[in-house]
């Protein structure tokens, strides 16, 4: 007998095999001559993971910034706001925990250079009392924030000085007062009004306010009191805040705490976060498809090697472990590259966003979330590579003896298990991306449906081509098309990978369009672009005359009455709001929790008229033009979104608090309002004959022609009716546009990554069929086919595959966009047919070019090498 060395048997279990040294040695050796292809595998996932990492680090950094800077966002422990002056006597009774109080009066007005040549709408903030307590105000020159409190000066934003061509030390006129520009505020003063985001802010000393003559009679004045409390635990602070709230039993007083501000800022980012989450998921799933395609192609090439290993005594577990190790190592490499790219993406987005982020965000991503995102991407990558890896189990060792059909995906428990795992992973990543469980489920379902639909379309296509192909067709066309159903066809794989890729890319773009459209205001057309607010009834005639004198049209006018909602369908809303603010929401009724807080707490500016305007559509009930009897509930028309938030329908009752007078109302109709048009639109419209006696003011709308400014009108108004505020949308729109462009830039950067993730998918799909097509084409050439004929056959096949993949992917994307527009964005789908057509022809072109590129390779291939089996 032969004397054999002692041996240690290789492990029998998959886990043992995976961690055995031979597995990794073999995986390394086996990767030789394949590393170019395998790096494609790594690249497939890198783009997806980079998008995931970039988005998560950005989101986390912003959230972290909001968490840590919440007090700085508010500047105080408690901000009390009211449209009416807040009585000083209350502050004498405040608990001892109140260490300091600050005071601010804010309103919109015009600021001009003393000669009156130029003017601009600004948000005036008259401050006193050391506010802000938590933020450090940065000014240029430094330390002038303190000098403001000596009076006679004004601090402005840098852009305003640039616009006026002024410098620090020059004079500005605010109302009746001229003030010296002390400096420029760079950052650090928390915003107190939502509206203030649109107009540049100027700061004056509160004592100077009276001398401007602007504070009295302006209904858009906000009075704020900021409080600095004794340091204590969150519970203690909450108790003090509750006590202080008790001092203001009257309505119309709003309270903001750092927590509330944090929530508000967080909510404003939610929609963008949601889109970014979808983008990351799309990029990652595309990467996953790329991984599956590239791995499938790789294993197809390695099937003979696996068969040889099995012949030589290698267990299926060991063979599986070898390729799992390869997939794992490459996934790790791809994840590493993706994570680094994601960190770079984070920095790029932070720099691109500039100051438009609500808090300071470091360009350095947080290491924890970076690694977690990279790890999540790696996990998904491994999950997607498992599907093709399962084929190893179906490679027969007998493949070494004769060429047999390649291993196929089986419908066994393992395949089903991996599919279920993938669905779970996608669901998990969707959740990780910040989607609600319901939305994550919808996304996962949508992707799974798309996958199955494409697989079904591929099967149907093969059936149809086989059935309808006619022998009379030209040979080259017949040959190219019949490649779609012949053995070794790539129809299913191509439709799944390219079709799904196109579907995901188009859907991602569609969501971007929906999002951008939702953010974008329409300033075009002949709608109004300047509002005159707070025109008292006795001033309407004079102001209208002024417009006429300046040849400006009076496009629209409406009376405006402020009110709040007291109860809906007999239930008190105010009580519920109070409970919620006191963190006792747990005991509140479920329906109360569904009503957004702003709906309950806000002040509504309502109007009365007998008909709809051009931007309104009646969706339910009838608009009442008469008030009804003296004891009957007043019919009111609600905007449909408000009705949905309140949970009311036509016929339901409400009680409205009209500046202290309770008014019984009945919902008589629901209106759909196009808010993107700047017409005079209202949440509630009453019939004439009800509100005429209530304190009110008039709102007039006009349009400043293009190329002109509202300066002349505003200067004239200062003399005629100084309490009237002009809200100039032309300047607001330019500010909004600038902010929007930054947001769009970020969205585009991230969409670019999704597109980048799609490229390896196409390459993976091509590689899948390359071996077979090379072999067939070389045989055709050997039998006398010209290079042109070979190319034509491939072109027909790939153009058809590209067209059908694009068709199937586009059809699914249209369905997805319609569904998302309806259920997520609540807006019309607004399909971009030009983009759809571009994507369709782009896919056909890319597929055809790829087919041609493939044929170039084929024509360079040595038939001899191929016939020897080394090609």
């Amino acid at each position: 007998m032969a004397t054999l060395p002692k041996t240690k048997p290789l492990p029998g279990s998959l886990l043992g095999a995976f961690f055995h040294a031979w597995t990794w040695r073999m995986a390394w050796r086996d990767s030789r001559q394949q590393r170019g292809r395998l790096s494609l595998y790594a690249l497939s996932i890198a783009a997806g993971i980079s998008a995931l990492v970039g988005i998560h680090t950005l989101k986390t950094s912003v959230q972290h910034g909001i968490e840590t800077q919440a007090k700085a966002l508010l500047g105080a422990d408690l901000l009390i706001s009211s449209r009416r002056p807040i009585g000083e006597e209350i502050f004498a009774k405040m608990p001892s925990e109140v260490r300091k109080t600050g005071r601010e009066t804010a309103f919109s007005s015009m600021v001009s250079i003393p000669t009156g040549e130029r003017s601009r709408l600004v948000q005036v903030r008259a401050v006193a009392g050391g506010y802000p307590f938590y933020a450090t105000v940065e000014t240029e020159p430094p330390e002038v924030w303190g000098r403001l409190q000596t009076g006679g000066g004004i601090l402005v934003e840098g852009a305003l000085l640039e616009e006026f061509g002024l410098a620090v030390g020059d004079w500005l006129k605010l109302g009746a007062r001229e003030l010296r520009v002390l400096g420029v505020v760079k950052k650090g003063v928390p915003r107190s009004n939502r509206f203030s985001g649109f107009a540049p802010e100027v700061f004056i000393w509160h004592e100077d306010l009276a001398s401007t003559g602007l504070a009295g009679g302006n209904s858009l004045v906000y009075h704020h009191r900021s409080l600095l409390l004794e340091a204590g635990s969150a519970k203690e602070l909450s108790a003090v805040v509750s006590t202080i709230m008790g001092f203001f039993p009257e309505r119309g007083v709003e309270f903001q705490t750092p927590e509330k501000r944090r929530e508000a800022v967080g909510e404003s980012l939610n929609r963008v976060n949601e889109y970014l989450g979808i983008t990351a998921l799309v990029a990652l799933v595309l990467g996953g498809i790329g991984v599956a395609g590239a791995m499938h192609a790789h294993l197809k090439r390695r099937a003979q090697a696996v068969a040889v290993l099995l012949c030589l005594g290698c267990s299926t577990h060991m063979a599986f472990a070898v390729y799992l190790a390869q997939a794992g190592a490459l996934g790790l490499a791809g994840s590493g590259v993706g994570t680094v790219l994601g960190a770079v993406l984070h920095a790029v987005v932070v720099v691109a966003a500039g100051d438009s982020l609500p808090v300071y965000v470091s360009p350095w991503p947080e290491p924890g979330i970076t690694l977690l995102s990279g790890g999540t991407g790696f996990l998904l990558c491994c999950g997607f590579s498992l599907l093709p890896l399962l084929q190893i189990r179906n490679i027969p060792p007998g493949a070494t003896l004769s060429e047999r059909p390649g291993a196929r995906m089986g419908g066994d428990w393992a395949t089903r298990g991996v599919c279920a795992l993938l669905v779970l992973l996608v669901f998990g990543v969707a959740l990780f991306n910040g989607a609600t469980p319901r939305r994550a489920l919808a996304l996962t379902f949508g992707l799974s449906f798309a996958f199955l639909a494409l697989a079904g379309a591929a099967q149907g296509l093969m059936y149809l081509t086989k059935r309808f192909l006619r022998p009379a067709w030209p040979y080259l066309l017949r040959q190219g098309i019949s490649n779609l159903y012949r053995p070794h066809n790539q129809t299913v794989l191509f439709l799944l990978s390219l079709g799904l890729g196109i579907f995901l890319l188009l859907t991602s773009w569609g969501v971007r369009t929906l999002l951008v459209r939702q953010m974008r205001f329409d300033a075009g057309g002949n709608g109004p672009n300047l509002y005159l607010v707070d025109v008292q009834p006795d001033q309407v005639e004079a102001v209208s005359g002024l417009l006429h004198a300046q040849q400006l049209p009076l496009i629209d006018s409406a009376p405006m009455v402020t009110m709040r909602i007291a109860s809906v369908k007999g239930r008190q809303l105010e009580a519920r709001a109070a409970r919620k603010s006191e963190s006792e929401a747990a005991g509140a009724q479920a329906d109360a929790q569904r009503v957004p807080r702003w709906v309950m707490e806000r002040e509504y500016r309502s109007t009365y008229r007998a008909c709809l305007n051009a931007t309104e559509t009646l969706v339910a009930g009838e608009l009442s033009s008469v008030a009804g009897g003296p004891d009957a509930a007043v019919p009111v028309s609600l905007e449909q979104g408000l009705a949905r938030d309140l949970g009311v329908e036509v016929g339901d009752t409400m009680v409205l608090d009209v500046q202290g007078v309770l008014l019984n109302a009945r919902v008589s109709s629901l209106r759909k309002v196009d808010w993107s048009k700047f017409n005079l639109n209202f949440f509630m419209v009453f019939p004439p004959g009800v509100l005429e006696g209530a304190p009110q003011f008039q709102l007039l709308a006009t349009r400043i022609p293009a190329g002109q400014t509202s300066g002349q009108l505003q200067r004239a108004l200062l003399g005629l009716a100084p309490n009237v505020s002009a809200v100039d949308l032309t300047s607001i729109l330019s500010t909004v546009a600038a902010l929007l462009e930054k947001a769009v830039r970020i969205v585009q950067i991230l969409s670019g990554f999704t597109l980048a993730a799609g490229v390896p998918v196409l390459l993976g799909a091509l590689l899948n069929g390359r071996e077979q097509r090379v072999r067939e084409s070389v045989l055709l050439r050997t039998l006398g086919a010209s290079e042109r004929q070979v190319r034509t056959i491939l072109l027909v096949e790939y153009a058809t595959l590209g067209a059908l993949s694009a068709l199937a992917g586009s059809a699914l994307a249209i369905g997805a966009q319609v569904a998302m527009a309806r259920w997520i964005f609540h807006s019309p789908p607004g399909l971009d047919w030009a983009w759809l057509a571009a994507a369709f022809f782009g896919a056909v072109l890319a597929s055809s070019l790829a087919g041609l590129a493939l044929s170039r390779g084929i024509c360079k291939h040595s038939p001899l090498l191929l016939l020897r089996g080394n090609g």
Partner: protein, 250 residues
Amino acid sequence: MYIVEQGISMADPVFPPLQPPVLEVRNLVKTYTEAGSALTVLSDIQLRVRAGETCAIVGPSGSGKTTLLGLCAGLDDATSGSVLLDGQALENLAQDGRAALRGRCVGFVFQNFQLIPTLTALENVLVPLELRGDSAGRPLAEALLKRVGLGERMGHYPSQLSGGEQQRVALARAFVRPPKILFADEPTGNLDAATSAPVVEMLFALNRESGTALVLVTHDPVLAARAGRIISMRAGRIVSEEHTGHGHTA
């Protein structure tokens, strides 16, 4: 150095009949069913091969030679009947059990060599040892490669070797862990006469030295004649058996 173990055949009166066979095939049937129609490629095959015996299977294309070889090595499942390899019934073993059995006592030489293209010649030869967990087999693999005349080409990949050289690497791989039985499927089918000769010499020399039983599928009558027994197949059946006189000592 390998110690030669004598091959014994039940059909050969020279050897004691009690020696157990290394391969025993009983009533073997293989039928392929596709699109509802059945095609029987092997019918009622009986075969016994003893240690050290050399046996050639010949027959026209499509007679079932390669299918029989694959079933004997456990590379495929029989429709009915039984294959006992080294005393173990293959039909009772799962894929991994058969792989382990092949790892212990089976060697292969294929018509198209079947070297792993990403491994060098030396690494290809080392694979069977590594699969047994033998980490000290490198000198043995090197010695075998030198023996087949490839001492200078150990670091070459299969694509850098000629057909004859590749088949010699395959021979070294088959004998690096002396198998109880070697299955050779047309070992010279892809080689010309001049290249075939040294390969055939080496095949029989290594077989003789290691005492391995050899089952050889071939179209080549000269090669078949070097085996101790020639089994002729036609239409999936064994139609004749002939003893050449070369026996196990060929």
